[in-house]
């Protein structure tokens, strides 16, 4: 049933222009470059003053050279919404029905007591065979689906109304400082009905029936902030990725380390145990190589004492493995060698599909760093932006 190797052919490397979709606490920006990836231009802010949690470009075209760009926004005052553009952000249309939990009538509260979406946190385009389908993850944890390119969203009741919802998700205290979140929505490229999600907190969950039913998938993963050993759920994945070429290989950067799973084994293996001990294996993002299932990047954070969530020792570095986590290589050339207290959030690191791969990350202090050579050398390509939540690399039409 499960494949241990590639199920799709390795695609050719991209050769076109690259853009970075940068979501920040005060608006959205698009950084674009030519195919050489040497000089970058910044466009924006869009949605100036809005809190933008994620901006994602649909890889599936809606027309020649037209793809749907979705952005998840809210402000300090206004409720959450989703906006759509088919011209790379020149014009935007608001979703007619943004992600929202069903209204609960008085006396019908049940276990949920009228949940309210605080913000949409994560956007994922659906399966390539289902044009127009998108998924959204929210805070508090909710899963929503759109079948019309993000214009109207419906709750995925099999998750949101699951009898185990409260046990799986825990309470408000179990979330991140910005609230509990559903994220890392991954779709098996072989089967549109096969979904994975991550929750902070809650753990990794899997559905084989397009979200109608779910099972925890956390065996082998530590949750040392819980009182019981080896719980079935309640974990804190920060970022989980499925490799599109080998969809039965999963990686996650967890609150409690870096893990890899071969789905047939159904057990997470702590590949972060091979990181240098003085660095540890705590962090938020995890980035996959588009053509090599064994190459992964992470950006370690200090998870000691009170969890500063900054680069260990004030010396920022990415770490890369070429062998699925058996060994790790420090990548800090070009980055500050001291007094660099970077925080890189779970959606704020990404890779393009060129050869060599371009790797990018944004910091909460508003800098965007780029490497044209798979992390061997870093260059700051934008600074003085607002607090960065997310960075997504996309290839632009020629």
């Amino acid at each position: 049933m499960y494949a241990k190797s590639l199920v799709n052919p390795v695609p050719s490397a991209a050769t076109g222009r690259v853009a970075l979709l940068v979501a920040t606490r005060k608006g959205a920006f698009i950084l674009s470059t030519d195919s050489s990836r040497r000089a970058w231009a910044t466009r924006g802010p869009m949605f100036f003053g809005h809190i933008v949690h994620h901006m994602v470009l649909d890889p599936r075209p809606v027309a020649k050279n037209a793809r749907t760009l979705l952005v998840a926004v809210r402000t300090g005052h206004l409720g959450p919404s989703v906006f759509r553009s088919t011209d790379m952000g020149k014009n935007w249309q608001e979703a007619a029905r943004p992600p929202a939990f069903p209204k609960v009538e008085p006396g019908q509260e049940g276990q949920h007591k009228g949940r309210v979406v605080d913000h949409t946190f994560w956007l994922s385009p659906g399966h390539s065979g289902e044009p127009g389908t998108w998924y959204a993850g929210t805070s508090p944890q909710g899963l929503f689906r759109s079948e019309d390119g993000g214009d109207t969203w419906a709750p995925v009741a099999g998750f949101n109304d699951n009898p185990m919802y409260l046990q799986w998700t825990g309470g408000e205290k179990d979330g991140t400082p910005d609230g509990p979140k559903l994220h890392s929505i991954q779709i098996d490229p072989r089967d549109a009905r096969h979904l994975y999600i991550g929750m902070s907190s809650g753990g990794v969950f899997e559905s084989l029936d397009e979200g109608a039913s779910w099972k925890p998938l956390n065996a082998g993963c530590a949750a040392d902030f819980l009182p019981v050993p080896n719980p079935e759920y309640g974990h804190d994945p920060h970022c989980m990725r499925l490799h599109p070429l080998a969809p039965d290989i999963l990686y996650q950067q967890n609150h409690c380390g870096i893990y890899r799973m071969e789905r047939a084994a159904a057990t997470w293996v702590r590949i972060g145990a091979n990181m240098p001990k003085k660095i540890g294996d705590i962090g938020f993002p995890l980035v996959l190589h588009p053509r090599d299932t064994r190459t992964v990047w992470v950006f370690p954070m200090d998870g000691g004492s009170v969890w500063p969530r900054t680069s260990p020792g004030g010396k920022p570095a990415a770490y890369m493995t070429h062998n699925a986590g058996k060994s790790w290589q420090r990548q800090d050339a070009g980055l500050p060698q001291r007094q660099g207290w970077f925080t890189v959030k779970r959606q704020a690191m990404t890779a393009d599909a060129h050869d060599p791969v371009g790797v990018y990350f944004g910091t909460t202090s508003g800098e965007v760093w780029a490497s044209r050579n798979e992390g061997a050398k870093w260059t700051c390509i934008a600074e003085h932006l607002p607090h960065i939540y997310a960075v997504e690399a996309v290839e632009l039409p020629r």
Binding site: T75, H77, G79, A95, A96, A100, F101, V116
Partner: protein, 86 residues
């Protein structure tokens, strides 16, 4: 009736500060506003019909904390943003 719109919501009203909307309750007025300016209601009222934490709605100068209040056609509604920092 007259409804005063705060700056943060004027993207929806074509930058108009004062607009008209009708209804026998605040809920109906907000629904009418949403018909005229699609999307505006959800930015200030959540899916459980609660007024969002940093929004304030006044009817004839008095703050209301729910949207089921009855209204007369002569009433004036003021929508304001509460303080929210950071």
């Amino acid at each position: 009736m007259k409804v005063l719109i705060p700056g943060a919501l004027r993207d929806y009203t074509g930058e108009r500060r004062e607009v008209e909307a009708n209804g026998a309750t605040l809920d109906e007025v907000l629904a009418d506003l949403d018909r005229r300016y699609p999307g505006i209601r959800f930015r200030m009222v959540d899916e459980q019909d609660g007024i969002r934490r940093h929004m304030r709605i006044y009817v004839n100068g008095g703050e209301v904390d729910a949207i089921d209040v009855p209204l007369r056609s002569s009433d004036e509604i003021i929508i304001l943003q509460a303080l929210s920092g950071g």
